[in-house]
């Protein structure tokens, strides 16, 4: 019985960490703090994927988000000097309007979000790697190839954009 409570407790801890670190990304004054808190958010999100039973997605999450994207962002931070204006968060003209718009948009969505109910008869299943792979390489083979073209285009585009004459 006490074993059943592990799932809600884990969900609560992970949700607290995700929301807290997410707020930290927005509110932190130092940009390096923001970047590391973003990595922490992604790490906790990987735990949430494991809780949902999507272990493969959790592994991708750690490899791509915590590994690649955080390092890329940290390189961006290092290549650009961060001036004192990064600290002047709440004294800018669009802050109030932006926060009000985000809150107004959030309220109805949050109200609807809790209304979703689980389907009654979800069949138990094992890991998600085999169905994921068979979906990607059968039904989604063409989008998969298109994604590789997108990655190639992004790579060439990024190189061309930052290339010196």
């Amino acid at each position: 019985m006490s074993l059943d409570l592990i799932e809600p407790i884990l969900f609560g801890l992970l949700a607290l960490a995700i929301v807290g670190a997410g707020l930290g990304v927005v509110l932190a004054g130092r940009i390096t703090t923001s970047a590391l808190l973003m990595a922490f958010t992604f790490l906790n999100m990987a735990g949430m994927f494991v809780l949902l039973g999507a272990e493969t997605i959790a592994a991708f999450q750690i490899l791509i988000y915590v590994g690649a994207i955080t390092v890329l962002i940290l390189y961006g931070v290092m290549f650009t000097p961060q001036g004192p204006r990064a600290y002047g968060l709440f004294f800018q003209k669009q802050t109030t309007v932006g926060a009000v718009i985000a809150a107004l948009a959030a309220l109805p969505v949050m109200a609807v979000a809790f209304a979703f109910r689980d389907a009654g008869n979800v069949p138990p299943r094992g890991g998600d790697l085999v169905p994921l792979a068979s979906s990607i390489f059968t039904d989604f083979a063409f989008p998969f190839e298109a994604a590789s073209v997108l990655l190639l285009a992004a790579m060439i585009g990024a190189i061309v954009l930052v290339k010196r004459e």
């Binding site: 949700a15 927005v26 940009i31 169905p131």
Partner: protein
């Protein structure tokens, strides 16, 4: 299979993180922080995709497939986004999006 945590809780967490990221995009003016907040929003949608995929009783993993494509798009987006930030920084030494006004009509 015990499902003590309802689907709605996952969707609400996803929505909360999405709007935290949206507030960050609207409020922060540092281009790199804005990129980070866009990543938060993309990751929040991933949680919604996985939750619906695992909990709505469908037999395949279509939601998880979409998450893989979101990963691809997020990686491409952050690479091109940082390249644009660095290129704009070379023209005008600032990462503040309010000061990059060359394309304003």
């Amino acid at each position: 299979m015990t499902t003590l945590v309802p689907l709605g809780a996952f969707i609400a967490l996803s929505a909360a993180l999405f709007f935290i990221g949206m507030a960050g995009v609207l409020v922060r003016r540092n281009a790199i922080v804005i990129l980070m907040c866009v990543e938060l929003m993309l990751n929040a949608t991933n949680l919604a995709f996985v939750a619906f995929s695992r909990r709505l009783g469908l037999l395949d993993e279509r939601g998880s497939v979409f998450v893989v494509f979101v990963f691809v798009v997020a990686a491409a987006e952050v690479a091109v986004g940082l390249a644009i930030v660095l290129a704009a920084y070379r023209n005008r030494p600032t990462v503040d999006v309010d000061e990059v006004t060359e394309m304003k009509g």
